[in-house]
């Protein structure tokens, strides 16, 4: 079985090739979406519903049904799971009983200690007893949505916790002996200065998280905060200020011994998120739950195919009740689509993409134009090609999307 050989740096050669897509060789990343929140945050456009906690028990049943169908019909009971990620929404909203039922249902024989098993949690709903329950279930990583240590910013974002609660929560996690935890921090917040962000970052680092995700606030037009920005009620920091934050973030994290292994993710050695790495290396993953997305390679779809579950609770319930995985509509990727996905995900990683693996998977001919373009961009310092890999330079990282657009081949 091709397993990630190291935690921080799964070899690029692990990129599955069409000919190697035998099911028994598949190490799967498993994602479970918990689309429930007490209240929806003002910037959030994820699949999540507020005030529907009463539907959680049924929802867990549907997730378990879906998983059973996929195991039986798609995986032929043969896949091995390398990572589990319980994301949301707010997974910590689930009671201990609910969480136990879900995890035990997914892994009747328990979670293998070699697996990375993450649960997302929010400060307002995480309790010591929930943490204990997670440990008991074999969950070995917790990712907590701190976002900011400023009460004003937390309120603006529509978060339910205070800065004080955030600090208590992090202390609680550390006291409970979690060796692997992560926190989310946001920047580029309305009215936030470079100094404001440095204070937030400094405070975050004080808790010595092994992993830190930092997201620049991005607003879609449909969310309340996005509408407020559109009508000028709030003002995002100017681009120059955000670039300053990004530069300081890089510098500070490096000086604290973190590796900036992905656009928005930093890790102490050995603590990169293995589950998320699956997304960025075109490894197969199964997403369970409303709005969840899967990626899988089969003989009928050698470049892989995605499928996306219905986002609404009722739509998802309807599908899960079919008790058949065949009901999932797959969209197989073309060669070019798969190449684009390989570039847009792989170049997010600091280590970039292995040129050899790319060529083996997509063919020398298809890679040629990409490398030609890369050589031009490399001459201007946007990317580099040495040591057999193609990667974006620190100077190009803020322009990743533009550079990927340059690199992808024309149709």
């Amino acid at each position: 079985m091709r397993r990630f050989s190291s935690v921080t740096c799964p070899c690029n050669d692990s990129m599955p090739r069409p000919t190697e897509s035998k099911r028994d060789q598949t190490a799967l990343a498993l994602y479970v979406h918990i689309p429930f929140c007490v209240k929806k945050c003002a910037y959030c456009d994820f699949t999540s519903y507020a005030g529907k906690e009463s539907e959680i028990p049924d929802y867990i049943t549907h997730v378990l049904d879906e998983w059973a169908a996929i195991r039986r019909e798609l995986l032929k009971n043969q896949a091995s799971i390398s990572t589990l990620y319980l994301g949301g929404g707010t997974p910590s909203l689930l009671t201990e009983n609910q969480m136990t039922r879900l995890v035990r249902g997914l892994f009747p024989e328990g979670i293998d200690p070699s697996m990375e098993a993450t649960v997302e949690a929010n400060p307002e709903s995480l309790t010591p007893s929930k943490l204990a329950c997670y440990q008991e279930l074999g969950i070995n990583r917790v990712s907590v949505g701190i976002q900011s240590f400023s009460d004003a910013h937390l309120r603006l974002l529509g978060r339910l916790h205070s800065a004080r609660r955030a600090r208590e929560c992090l202390d609680m996690i550390r006291r409970a002996g979690w060796r692997n935890f992560s926190m989310d921090l946001m920047y580029g917040l309305p009215g936030q200065s470079h100094e404001d962000f440095l204070r937030d970052l400094d405070e975050a680092l004080g808790f010595e998280p092994p992993h830190l995700s930092t997201y620049c606030l991005t607003l879609s037009g449909g969310v309340p905060l996005g509408q407020a920005a559109a009508r000028g009620a709030i003002h995002l920091p100017p681009e120059a200020e955000i670039l300053k934050m990004m530069a300081s973030l890089d510098k500070t994290m490096a000086s604290h011994g973190y590796e900036h292994y992905e656009v928005s993710n930093f890790a102490r050695p050995g603590h990169a998120c293995r589950h998320n790495l699956a997304y960025w290396t075109l490894s197969p993953y199964i997403g369970l739950g409303a709005g969840a997305v899967s990626f899988f390679i089969e003989e009928v779809a050698p470049w892989g195919s995605h499928w996306e579950n219905p986002g609404s609770l009722s739509g998802y319930a309807k599908r899960a009740r079919n008790h058949s995985w065949a009901f999932h509509e797959r969209s197989p990727l073309s060669h070019r689509e798969a190449l684009i996905e390989a570039l847009l995900t792989g170049l997010r990683l600091k280590r970039g993409l292995s040129i050899r693996a790319l060529a083996e998977r997509f063919g020398e001919e298809a890679i040629g134009p990409v490398l030609q373009k890369a050589a031009l961009l490399a001459a201007e310092g946007w990317c580099e090609m040495d040591g057999g890999s193609l990667r974006i330079t620190p100077g190009g990282s803020c322009l990743l999307d533009t550079l990927v657009l340059e690199l992808i081949p024309e149709s």
Binding site: V293, V404, I408, S411
Partner: protein, 600 residues
Amino acid sequence: MSVQKHIRNFSIIAHVDHGKSTLADRLLEKTNTVSPREMKEQFLDKMDLERERGITIKAQTVRMAYRARDGQEYLFHLIDTPGHVDFSYEVSRSLAACEGAVLVVDAAQGVEAQTLANVYTAVDQGLEIIPVINKIDLPSADPEKVKQEIYEIIGLDPSDALLISAKTGTGVESVLEAIVTKIPPPSGDPTHPLKALIFDSWYDSYQGVVVLVRIFDGRVYKGMNIRFMSTGKTYEVTSVGTFAPHQVFLDALGPGEVGFLTASIKEISHSKIGDTITSVKNPADNPLPGFKEAKPMVFSGLYPVDAGKYDDLKDALEKLQLNDASFRFEPETSLALGFGFRCGFLGMLHMEIVQERLEREFELELITTAPTVRYEVIKTDGEKVVVENPIQLPSPQKIQAILEPVMLGTIHIPSDYVGTVLKLCEERRGVQKEIKFFSSNRVVVTYELPLNEIVIDFYDRLKSSTRGYASFDYEFLAFKPANLVRLDVLINGEVVDALSLIVHRDKAYAKGRDLIKRIKQFIPRQLFEVAIQAAIGSKVIARETIKPLRKNVTAKCYGGDITRKRKLLEKQKEGKKRMKRVGRVDIPQDAFLAILSVEG
């Protein structure tokens, strides 16, 4: 063969929307030329495009048999005319085929400038005019006021004006009777040498070119050898006939008759509108008067958005030209846009129609460069060159003088808007010739206007500044010298040929500044700084800078985001492919249209 004195040849003259096509439809119905089953609304407007725009591009003709109140049967030839200023020459030839015209005026809107031009042409050609006031069923109809206008503006006796509603059919009989009693029968001698006026022609893939003719003298018949007098080309007639409204084949056409002939003609340019057809064996001494070569007045470059569609565009242009002798094109290369064609049009509407047909009928996506006019340049060595593309303008030191086409423009407006219109005309370097006030609160303003100043947005500005009340008509006057310069646009130091303009020196600075400001809005930030400059010769007169892109990165990209992001990238890549590249700068096609909205 019909008796000449029972023939009536006439046109209907009307402003757009005043009901010409509806009246034509009623005439077809009342004479049982078209059965109700066949009757599609506005039968004569064949092409979709015409139907949509409510205008007629190609002249149509139809023969009708009408039994009049005097008990005799008359043969009517209704010769439809194109309805826009761009086609005024075609209109004049269609009118030359008639002895009379029915002038249709909307009972609510009154006389409009475009109508006037055609009415004056008809009067000049000695046609009998039957004034008809249409839409009398409208609540806003004011026939008395319109009668007064007909008298004051056109000088016709309004007491004869017929009051009708083509929509309901009211009064249509009186129009038919007036055609019989007021319009004289055609003259002409069947024994004289053949003189047939070409007033339209089109290409038919089965018959070759179909030529619409009005016979003035002699006869034309199948098997006859004919000569086109302006080109000297000779052909053997393969068929003659008429449209009633479907094609009907006849043995011959005689004096006064209107119909078609075919002669295995492959090139529409061999049968020029206004030319005279005569007999090879027994030729006429002189052609009919009034022949003018239809010359394109407005030029622009047409380029395929997708360079791979060049051959498709060429095929499409060739097909269009089969039916449009006034449309011209030749290959042209632009550094910015690649391979395309320089096209000549009669005017702006003609240009828009061609573009629309290319996009709609041939499904081509086009980039159109700013329309320009034809300049005559006298070089210092005395040589005269014609410039139809700004980039061909010789270098300033080699130019002795530049002459530009000047038009005589007639604008018809309610008196409230005189000030606005005079201001607009002055801004456009107009020279006032005449202002005529009529008691009916209407004013006719006549200006000499450089065509260069009216090809871009003049009509739109005129319409918007008069709340749509103005109507505008123009005709070519003369080439006149003017202080003109070429304004170039440079992007990162490279001249973008497709954005060059010839402008009056006094306006060059303002136009240059405005133009590059507009272009800037269309060019996305790139990985490097982009300088946009406006220059006259080597002198830069304005500059705008597009700062380089500094941040463009998606913060979150996990499972569900990947497909969305990929689709977005694919869309952006597709968009980029359609952009044109100058040096290293990708320029969206919209930037090339920025020129059209530059303030005069």
